[in-house]
Structures are given as structure tokens and as C-alpha cells.
């Protein structure tokens, strides 16, 4: 053996000690960085406020305290009240539920359908790939939000209609990215090894390829989520989504816009700012995850 055998093994051991088991949580924090951690805290605050709204909201979001209508922040109403005297803080918390849950549903549907289409196309190639790519091309030819609007035109303004419509618009974006990644993975030796072992195409796609494209799927889902929040809030704002008196951030900007023309900008500012913070935090987290998903490759 040569002279460096001993120090070399020590080095490897040291390197292992450094990289091994810093804990998944520590790794995640390191990935996010200071800005990403700040964004995560913002998002967690909104998620908690939304989730716990029924228990911690100071008022019933629909209760009209007509005496306080269009009042500014006070001890009674921390953020003030809207034109009907409803407590803005409570409406903000209840509204965040829909503003967060709706887009999450959009992305969930789009991701599941998109990943299934992508894996089908990548594994079967040939005619299946051609047909799926063709469907995706047609979907790409229509601006995403139009699907939501078309759905509303047919089935009437309603949250689930918009969610399903919008998710169709997001499918091609997920599918295209995942299809590309899955095609790369398909050519990897480990996939061929699994194939030679007699695993089925379905099994390989599910157990071998999917875990390996998972970081890309996650990154794509998170960055699409930001756009979905914007799109869904926009549809609500246009009056084509959730209907009043339900609390929703997009609707609050709409009714706040009317109050603003009457001189009270509180509702528009709170709701608008809340949307910006939510989208900002999701975008930053998505950015951090994406840049890391790339650096791994």
C-alpha cells in the first residue's frame, strides 16, 4: 500500500461526518437560506391564521357591525371594518383559507395529471408520446386563465369550477418539465438495470423514475403555486369565482376598491398586501428550491 492510504481513509471519514445526517430539517434550512427562512415564516403565519380562523378570529367574518362601517383600525377592530362593518382581520383570516386552499387544489390536480401524462409519454414513447405531446401543444396554445374563464362561462361562477378549469391550464407546464426529466432518467443505466431485472414499465416509472424526478416536480409545483394564487385571486376579483358574502382576498380587494373610491382604503390595502406577501413568500421558497434542484444535477 502507498503512504497516503491512512490519511485518505481519515479524509473520507471526515467528509462523511460532515455530510452525513445533519438532519433533514437542517438541510432544508440550509437550502432555504436567510431569505427563504423569512419567506417560510411569513407563509407559515398565513397558513396557521387560515387554518385556525374558526377558533382565533375575533369576529364572525359575516357579522355586520354597521356602526363601525368603514372605520379605520381601532381596539375594537384591529384592522378596521369594511363597508358593511364586518371585521377586516377576521375576514382576512377566513379569506386566506380560500386564497390558499384553492390554488393548492389547482396545483394538486395539475401535478397529478401532468405527472401521469409525462410518465406515460416518457415510458411508452411512440404513438402515446406523440398523442400526449399533441394534447399538451393544444393546451399550450390557450392562455392558462382562459380555461378558468371558459369553465365559469359554462358552469357559472363558483370556486370549484374555477379550480378545475385553471388546473387544466397548468397541466402542460408540469407535464413538459417532467416529461423532459423522465426521458433523461429513462436513458440512465439504473433504469436499464431495473428493466433487465424484469420490472414492468409501470413499476419502473413509479418506483425508479418518479422518485428521481421528484425534486423537479416539487420545484415546479411550488413555483406554479405562486402563479395559481395570482390567477385565482384575479378571477375572484373579476367576480367570476367565489361569490359574496364569502370572505376571499381577491373579493376583498374588489369591495375594498369600491370603499377606496369613497375614501377608505383600509380594506383594499390589507387584502392586497396579504396577497402580495403570500405570493412573495411562495415565489422565494420556489426559487430557493429550484436553484437547488438544478445544482444537484
Amino acid at each position: 500500500m502507498n503512504a497516503n492510504a491512512a490519511p485518505r481513509t481519515t479524509q473520507i471519514a471526515l467528509a462523511k461526518a460532515r455530510t452525513q445526517d445533519p438532519g433533514a430539517f437542517t438541510l432544508l434550512l440550509r437550502k432555504l437560506g436567510p431569505l427563504g427562512i423569512a419567506a417560510s415564516i411569513v407563509l407559515i403565519v398565513f397558513v396557521l391564521a387560515a387554518a385556525l380562523a374558526p377558533w382565533i378570529a375575533p369576529y364572525d367574518p359575516d357579522f355586520p357591525d354597521l356602526l363601525s362601517a368603514l372605520s379605520g383600525p381601532s381596539a375594537q377592530h384591529l384592522l378596521g371594518a369594511d363597508a358593511l362593518g364586518r371585521d377586516l382581520l377576521s375576514r382576512l383570516m377566513w379569506g386566506a383559507r380560500i386564497t390558499l386552499l384553492g390554488p393548492a387544489l389547482v396545483i394538486l390536480i395539475a401535478t397529478v395529471v401532468g405527472v401521469v401524462l409525462a410518465l406515460l409519454a416518457a415510458w411508452n414513447r411512440g404513438i402515446v408520446d406523440t398523442v400526449i405531446s399533441w394534447i399538451l401543444d393544444v393546451l399550450f396554445a390557450v392562455p392558462g386563465i382562459l380555461f378558468g374563464l371558459i369553465a365559469v362561462a359554462i358552469f357559472g361562477p363558483n370556486l370549484m369550477t374555477v379550480v378545475v378549469g385553471l388546473s387544466i391550464g397548468y397541466i402542460p407546464y408540469v407535464a413538459r418539465v417532467v416529461r423532459g426529466a423522465a426521458l433523461r432518467e429513462r436513458n440512465m443505466p439504473y433504469v436499464q438495470a431495473a428493466w433487465l431485472q424484469g420490472q414492468s414499465g409501470f413499476g419502473i416509472s413509479l418506483r425508479q423514475i418518479l422518485p428521481n424526478v421528484q425534486p423537479i416536480v416539487t420545484a415546479q409545483a411550488v413555483s406554479s403555486l405562486g402563479f395559481a394564487v395570482v390567477d385565482l385571486a384575479a378571477v375572484s376579483f373579476l367576480g367570476l369565482g367565489v361569490q359574496p358574502p364569502t370572505a376571499d382576498l381577491g373579493l376583498m380587494v374588489k369591495s375594498g376598491f369600491d370603499s377606496m373610491l369613497r375614501g377608505q382604503a383600509g380594506e383594499a390595502i390589507t387584502a392586497g398586501l396579504a396577497i402580495v406577501l403570500i405570493v412573495w413568500s411562495i415565489t422565494v421558497i420556489g426559487d430557493r428550491l429550484t436553484s437547488n434542484a438544478r445544482s444537484i444535477r
Partner: protein, 316 residues
């Protein structure tokens, strides 16, 4: 691929997409619950004669396929049907509004190109605190929905100071530009922020390329290197994003026109949806899809001028 062959193929693709989307849009509208009759005749309904007249006028009794091809045939003759709500030909409704939408999108595109590319260049070439400020601003701009910016702009510059009108399209010429300024800015912010990020990233990436080393080693002056070897190459990703951005502006215009009460295709679409004016919805959706596909084709054509490695019609 030659230019005519490329155009022919793109035209073919466009027809195919139009055929499919028109079929889907028409099919879904056909399946929609509720009869258009009730919208024409009002909640109390009409006399049997009125119902028969309206049914005949809008071909409500024919089978689906017959109605679809009749509609398609009319479409090719430039007849987009009649609006049930406005009681006017849809073609006239669209013709009267398309100018506003095109002007809005063009105005926003100019803002996006100047501000987005400009800020991206400053951030990447100057660096330092300017870079930090621009990067932070662009992240915020990207996170702010168009309608929130619209509401904010109206409260600040229209209601607050009275510098700009709160709504309407204006009476042509300078008045129109004045009316469109705030809407165009609202429409431009998110895309400009995104373009600034892309510009910054591509310039930084190109600066690190080996061929830039060659240019330095040949003793070229820095301005020349920046212009001919960094910016020229960064133009490729910038154009890509610019093209995609203009296409998304079509969807954004729907929102902005509603916020600023502009009489364009977007606000027409929203009202038509609320009033279940299907002929208008179908026609406007098709017009927007055509615009979307055509813009994408133009961008693909521009690539070949910018990047000699890409052949017309080749898939990347």
C-alpha cells in the same frame, strides 16, 4: 426550412389548434346547463311564437354536429354570430374593441422591454447595491397581482392626485395614451420584473462564457465585448421570455381592462361570461387563442434571426 414552408406549417398548426379549441369551446357551451332562451326572453319566458322565432334564429333545435359545422361555416365567412345580450353581430362588437386591447398590450410591451431589460442590464453590469435593490424590487413586482397594482395605481395617481383618469379608454390620440398609461403600467409590472430577472441572469451567465475570454484575449475594448459578445448572446433567452410574456399579457389584459373599465376584448369577455352570452364568449376566446398562437409563431421566427444555430421549424 424555407420561410414559406415555415409559414405554411405554422398556418396549418394554427388551423388545427383553432379547429380543436373551437370544437371544445362550442361543445362545452352546448353541454352547459340552462338554455340561452331564458336569457333572451327574460325570466318570465315568452309567447310560443317568440320562443319559436328565437329557436329558429339561433338554430337551437338542430343536432350538435349540425350546429357546430353551421357555426364553423359562418365563422369562415367572417360571421361570428349574434350577441344575445347586445343584439348585435359579434364581429361588430369585437371590431369596436380590439383596438383598445391591442393598444394596451402594445403599450405594456414597450414598457416591459424598456424597463425590464434596462433594469436587468443595470443590475448585472453595475452590480453592488443597485443590483440588490433591483433584485428585491423585481421579486416584489413578480409577487404583486395585476389587479392589486391596478387598484394601487388608481388610488395613488387617479383618485389621490387626479393626474390620470380612473376609467375609460379616452377619445383617441394623446387622450387615449393618457387613459391607457396607468392600465399599461399595471399590466407591465409583473412581466417587467420577470424580464429584469431573466436579463440579469443571462448577462451574468454570458459574461462567464469561454468565448468572452477569447474576446478579452484578443484585446477588444470592454464596451465592444459587452455589446457584441455578452449582450448579443444574452438576447437569445431575453427574446424567448419577451415572447412568452407578450402572450401572457393577453390573459392579463382581461383583468386590467376590468379594473380600469376599459372597453376592450377582455372586459367584453368578462361581461359576456357573467351574462352567459355564449356567442361572444366563443368568438372572443377564439380571437385570443389566435393572437396567442400567432405571437408565439412570430417569436419562433425571431429566434432564427438571433440565433444562427436554430433552423426555422426545428424543435428545440
Amino acid at each position: 426550412m424555407s420561410v414559406p414552408a415555415f409559414l405554411l406549417r405554422r398556418a396549418g398548426g394554427l388551423l388545427l389548434v383553432l379547429f380543436v379549441t373551437s370544437f371544445i369551446v362550442f361543445g362545452l357551451m352546448y353541454l352547459a346547463p340552462g338554455s340561452p332562451l331564458s336569457f333572451v326572453l327574460g325570466p318570465r319566458g315568452g309567447t310560443p311564437e317568440q320562443i319559436a322565432a328565437v329557436t329558429a334564429q339561433y338554430h337551437l333545435n338542430d343536432p350538435f354536429i349540425v350546429r357546430y359545422f353551421a357555426w364553423l361555416g359562418d365563422l369562415f365567412q367572417g360571421n361570428l354570430g349574434d350577441s344575445i345580450v347586445y343584439r348585435q353581430p359579434v364581429g361588430d362588437l369585437i371590431a369596436g374593441r380590439v383596438g383598445t386591447t391591442v393598444a394596451l398590450i402594445a403599450f405594456a410591451t414597450v414598457i416591459i422591454a424598456i424597463v425590464g431589460i434596462g433594469l436587468g442590464l443595470i443590475a448585472s453590469l453595475k452590480g453592488g447595491w443597485l443590483d440588490t435593490v433591483i433584485t428585491t424590487l423585481s421579486t416584489l413586482g413578480l409577487a404583486t397581482p395585476t389587479f392589486v397594482i391596478g387598484v394601487a395605481l388608481i388610488s395613488l395617481f387617479a383618485v389621490g392626485t387626479g393626474w390620470f383618469p380612473t376609467n375609460g379608454s379616452g377619445g383617441g390620440g394623446f387622450d387615449s395614451i393618457w387613459h391607457l398609461t396607468l392600465p399599461a403600467i399595471a399590466l407591465a409590472v409583473a412581466s417587467a420584473a420577470y424580464l429584469a430577472r431573466i436579463t440579469r441572469a443571462s448577462v451574468l451567465e454570458e459574461e462567464g462564457r469561454e468565448h468572452v475570454q477569447t474576446a478579452v484575449a484578443r484585446g477588444l475594448r470592454s464596451p465592444l465585448i459587452i455589446r457584441r459578445h455578452v449582450l448579443r448572446n444574452a438576447l437569445i433567452p431575453i427574446t424567448t421570455v419577451m415572447g412568452l410574456t407578450i402572450a401572457t399579457l393577453i390573459a392579463g389584459a382581461v383583468v386590467v381592462e376590468s379594473v380600469f373599465a376599459l372597453d376592450g376584448l377582455g372586459s367584453l369577455l368578462v361581461r359576456a361570461i357573467l351574462q352567459r352570452d355564449f356567442a361572444v364568449v366563443q368568438a372572443v376566446v377564439l380571437v385570443l387563442v389566435v393572437a396567442f398562437v400567432v405571437i408565439n409563431a412570430i417569436v419562433d421566427f425571431l429566434y432564427t434571426l438571433i440565433d444562427p444555430r436554430i433552423q426555422l421549424g426545428s424543435k428545440q
